[in-house]
């Protein structure tokens, strides 16, 4: 078991809206291990992007981190000053965003994006030296160094995404959080991108948190997978185990919903119901209104997130001891 480089404990994030407070992330505990690719999957609105942002303390008003501890490299990030946090952002943890077109400054050249990042964290580096490093970096990622002087709109989608990675790696960060990095890419470019991720992980000893709603991507490239639903973790474990033998009914539903070439004319499975409103979430287990195996206890008490077998965790009463409790209507 490799070491844990990032440990999330009891994280809750809330957004203030006109109609009340919305808890986008509710009491999440998660450990991220060195060198792994951890896939974080879930439907839109389940809180995975918020979790990713919270890991870098990039939640802005009207959102805020209500409670939690974020242990990284021996410190609780929640206790750090903004200045120290800035050093970590980009320096120790990097982020790759979903839409590379809008994530790059349209009036800034590519090279300037990179040199600015480098020189912000290492002010003693000269402009020339920073440029040299930038050149090396993008070439490693398969972009010709002449393209550095271009503006973002002059590059293709795939290249822009690679530029985003290079920005996340400019300072040899150990942890990279990729928020829906392939959603805006077509399938072929996406495949190349995932290969690149793997290569980089091996070469630079990276740890990657891959946030996506695309199960296929996770299945292909992740070591472990965490499934989120309505702000909470539903299931976590080795990717082969979780996808091979999904325990949580939500995960089972997700996997059934993936169109399969062997469907052979059968109808596409559709999970009944829809994701709950986070303003007024269902009591107990949040999935129970849609769960085909819901029991009375599910609407009364929240199941703990605990081991089902070994390193495979799930939050479901099906796998836990429960007293006989009659649920109140």
């Amino acid at each position: 078991m490799s070491e844990v480089i990032y440990s999330i404990r009891g994280l809750s994030v809330e957004y203030a809206t006109r109609s009340g407070a919305v808890r986008a992330v509710d009491g999440v505990d998660l450990d991220i291990r060195r060198g792994e690719i951890l896939g974080l999957v879930g439907e839109s609105g389940c809180g995975k992007s918020t979790l990713g942002k919270a890991m870098m303390r990039m939640i802005t008003p009207p959102g805020r981190i209500v409670t939690g501890e974020l242990w990284f490299e021996g410190q609780d990030l929640m206790q750090l000053s903004e200045r120290k946090m800035r050093a970590i952002r980009g320096g120790r943890i990097g982020m790759v965003f979903q839409d590379p077109m809008t994530s790059l400054n349209p009036v800034q050249r590519i090279v300037d994006h990179l040199t600015e990042t480098i020189r912000t964290h290492e002010p003693s580096v000269t402009e020339a030296a920073a440029r040299a490093r930038a050149e090396e970096l993008v070439e490693r990622l398969g972009i010709r160094r002449e393209r550095l002087d271009d503006y973002p709109h002059q590059l293709s989608g795939g290249m822009r995404q690679r530029v985003m990675i290079s920005l996340a790696l400019a300072l040899r960060a150990g942890l990279v959080i990729a928020d829906e990095p392939t959603t805006s890419l077509d399938v072929i470019v996406e495949a190349k991108f995932l290969d690149l991720l793997r290569e980089l992980r091996d070469e630079f000893d990276l740890t990657i948190v891959l946030i996506t709603h695309n199960i296929g991507v996770v299945a292909e490239v992740a070591d472990r997978v965490a499934v989120m639903y309505a702000g909470r973790l539903a299931e976590l474990g080795d990717v082969l185990e979780v996808f091979g033998e999904p325990r949580h009914p939500y995960t089972q539903g997700l996997l059934q919903a993936v169109p399969n070439i062997e469907l052979d004319g059968a109808e596409l499975y559709q999970m009944q119901g829809s994701p709950p409103s986070l303003l007024d979430p269902p009591p107990g287990c949040r999935f129970h209104p849609r769960c085909p195996e819901a029991m009375p206890i599910c609407s009364a008490e929240t199941p703990a997130f605990q081991s089902v077998s070994g390193e495979h965790l799930a939050a479901c009463w099906l796998y836990q001891e429960h007293p006989e409790v009659v649920a109140d209507a």
Partner: protein, 365 residues
Amino acid sequence: MHPLSIVFLIIGVPAAVLLLYVFVRGSGGLRRYVITRIGLTIPMIFILASLVFLVLRIIPGDPVTSSLGPKGSPELKARLRAELGLEDPLIVQYGRFLGDVVTLDFGRSLVGGQRRIVDEMGERFPATLELVIPGTILALGIGLLFGTYAAAHRRRAPDYALRMYGVVIYSMPIFWLGLLFQLVFAVKLGWFPVAGRIDAVIGTTVERTTNMLLVDTLISGNWAAFRSVLRHLVLPAVTLGLILSGVFLRLTRINVIETLQQDYVTAARARGIRERVVVYRHALKNAMIPVITLIGLQVAILLAGAVLTETVFAWPGMGRYLVERISVRDYTAVQSVITMFALFVALISLFVDILYSLLDPRVRY
């Protein structure tokens, strides 16, 4: 040399530089855009000039009767009318008017001395420019800086205070602000002169070449005059600048707020870039572009403000000339001034649009 050549130089030189840059270093797309834009300006000027012509011809009666009133004999009036070509059919008059516009020769004043109108303009336009340029620079400076500051502190005290400032200053009539400045700083405190452009006595020592007194006095080393002009310039320029700063402040604020919501700003923060750098370098640079183009629109407000400011401070510019000529019913001059204004506005907005296309790399498709 045409009396208005100074004005042309001031507008023309930067414009020429700009166009040179566009056609030498610009891409094909950019060149095409610029040519199209220039092409559009011509109908715009045409329409404006025609509107001016139309508006001033709706007068029941004619300029001659209105200006001379009961003073002239019918024969005199008839002769003047013929001289001014008012007896000709409207189409002919229109054609002649357009010709005047193109050659920038507006004939002579109807009233008060038969001076050539372009000569008068040659003296007064630079005066207006001398007022308007420092005013704009001041307004931009305040607006951009504080607008960004307000956006960066949105929904907190500085934002509300600055928005209040923007709104209050916009609500003030510019001539009232001018009057207040006059009252406080000139009459009560005596720090600055009450009105005028230069001390009358010193004024006679100035050699006029460009008719922009700051420049002329600098060239001839006439320091006393330079100081005098500067002292006279402060109150009117600050009045103009402050009023406009409100507009720029609000524009900048809104644009920066929008820009700060963009993904690349979040991405920059995720790379650990300091907030101040993010706001003032990244966001402002992007937000500035639409603000600068809106200067083109503000030229209109600027000219209106200039008219009022010049009246308050008795500054001998085009604005005051217009008001003067209206009160003596010199319609030829009025028509010419308004046409000049229209031309000026059209050209400045053309200039700004081209500048915008240069600044925003995305426009060069």
